[in-house]
């Protein structure tokens, strides 16, 4: 019988700890697939950040480093500067990348560090049980915005791709999601391109993946995907925000 579909060789057999319906698993697969297709697993080093994906060092078969909260891109900078021929990626959530690690993110981007950043935006702190994230939507109810995010006191969500695409050091910024097969395919291509850019020395590439957190959103997996489509995509439009290769700059 012909094998038509299988797990990438770049994912371990460790059972993932993610909640049912969480999209981390899909994104892990897409990252692993990119490493496999590009043949760079042997020289890849991933940086796990603090948040739900902290234990992704157990899931990818490449060498891995676990960074302090928010510091993944500083750690990636050290790894890349030490061994420029290695393929370095970070895998970070919204709290890590856009709150506690904002300075590390902005400055790695503006330096044009030749790294690949995978950014999971699910509009909430998952690991600590559902607090307001820098990307939580106006009015969104979380554990720490029980009356809904009030922009008068809690400010506005950060649009990371829009912000980073203004920086000269950024080669590629695309926002994708994984809510259906079509979008998973778009995400797969974006992630592969973000790695390809690094291999070709093009500079900083970030793929923001709008993701679900059914557990902390208090929704079923199917309802969570619907909520993402109805609420997150309008605030965080999908698309390519910057691509120096194609001359795209929104």
């Amino acid at each position: 019988m012909a094998i038509v579909f299988q797990k990438p060789s770049t994912l371990t057999d460790a059972p993932m700890h993610y909640c049912p319906g969480c999209t981390h698993g899909i994104v892990h697969r897409l990252v692993a697939q990119a490493l496999e297709e590009l043949g760079v697993e042997g020289k890849a080093v991933g940086v796990a950040s603090v948040g739900c994906s902290v234990m992704c060092y157990d899931y990818f078969t490449c060498d891995m480093v676990q960074a302090p909260h928010g510091r993944a891109q500083a750690v990636a900078t050290g790894l890349k500067r030490a061994r420029p021929d290695n393929v370095i990626f970070t895998y970070q959530g919204d709290g890590d990348l856009a709150a506690i690690g904002t300075a590390e993110t902005v400055h790695a981007a503006t330096r044009g560090e030749n790294i690949t950043v995978i950014f999971i935006n699910n509009a909430i702190y998952g690991m600590t049980g559902g607090q307001m994230a820098p990307t939580s939507l106006p009015g969104q109810i979380t554990q720490t915005t029980p009356y809904g995010r009030d922009t008068n006191t809690a400010g506005y969500p950060v649009r990371v791709c829009e912000m980073l695409s203004t920086l000269s050091g950024v080669a590629f910024a695309q926002r994708v999601t994984v809510d259906n097969v079509k979008n998973v395919n778009i995400a797969r291509k974006a992630i592969k391109k973000a790695f390809q850019n690094q291999i070709e020395g093009k500079g900083y590439s970030i793929v923001e993946v709008l993701s679900t957190c059914p557990t902390n959103w208090g929704l079923s997996p199917v309802e969570a995907l619907k909520w993402l489509e109805d609420n997150m995509i309008p605030y965080y439009p999908l698309g390519v925000y910057k691509d120096v290769e194609e001359g795209v700059k929104k």
Partner: protein, 348 residues
Amino acid sequence: MKVLMKGNEALAEAAIRAGCHHFFGYPITPQTELAAYMSKRMPQVNGTYLQAESEIAAINMVLGASSAGVRAMTSSSSPGVSLKGEGISYMAGSDLPAVIINVQRGGPGLGGIQPSQADYWQATKATGHGDFQILVFAPSTVQEMVDLISHAFDTADKYRMPAMILADGMLGQMMEPVELPEEGSANLPEKEWAAKGHGGKRAHNIINSLYLTPEKLEQLVKERFERYETVKRNEQMAEEYLTEDADVVLVAYGASSRVARSAVNKAREKGLKVGLVRPITLWPFPTDALNRAASHAKNFLVVEMSMGQMVDDVKLAIDCKVPVHFYGRTGGMIPTPADVLAQIEALL
């Protein structure tokens, strides 16, 4: 051939000659010249000088470079070292070697920019959160800064733990003649544990400090503390100066030990039996040298440029066998040999 160098620049050049080609820093007085020197020299050796966006980013770049298996360093001064505490704790928890320079200034808070030794507690007890120690070396001359840098890298690699050079604004800013090691003389160990790409030849390496199972975390911390016991046995360094017959033994490190040495010499000129134990490693603390002196001394006098942060360690090291007194200045003030001599005479 000896050359005349400023302490901060000598530290930088010696680090490069110790095989450190990756430096990540952030500007702060009074260590400024160190980073500036690195920015000039690193391109000449095909190394990396990177001015980070903060001390936090700088120490985490060191964490990344060290994870990749290269020798990496950062330098700062007191307020900046507080920011590095997070990264130092993670490196200790991940068994990563690195060298961190603290050219101390007065504190707390923004404090001042004059020389100080007020970060002793931070360096030896609480660089960051959690159960861990780092190696702490305290040079007292520019030559010793040069010598201790390569020793710090070697020792950090040997035990897989961070090492700190605890200097101060006086040592960083002063110029003295130094003999530098040959370029390319460093002995760089192979690091099988590094995250540098497995090349399909081995299982993946994971650099990590997270252990959610308490039994596992306790076991790893205990193993680390067993390693610390080896460090305590093997790596203590101290200079014993005129201690054999001393009634009063001064204990001082770094800049204040230079003042203490002058006071000892003045006391000897007066026929007073005074000596000096100068800790060179602050962790591990040189308990052996202190106990040798305590076996016959009548009084110890600790001299520091702080409010007496080392005093308790001296008392514990010698089990309070002899009275331990203290004289110090702080906030950037430097004690004079005459001040210290007056304290000695009061004890005799």
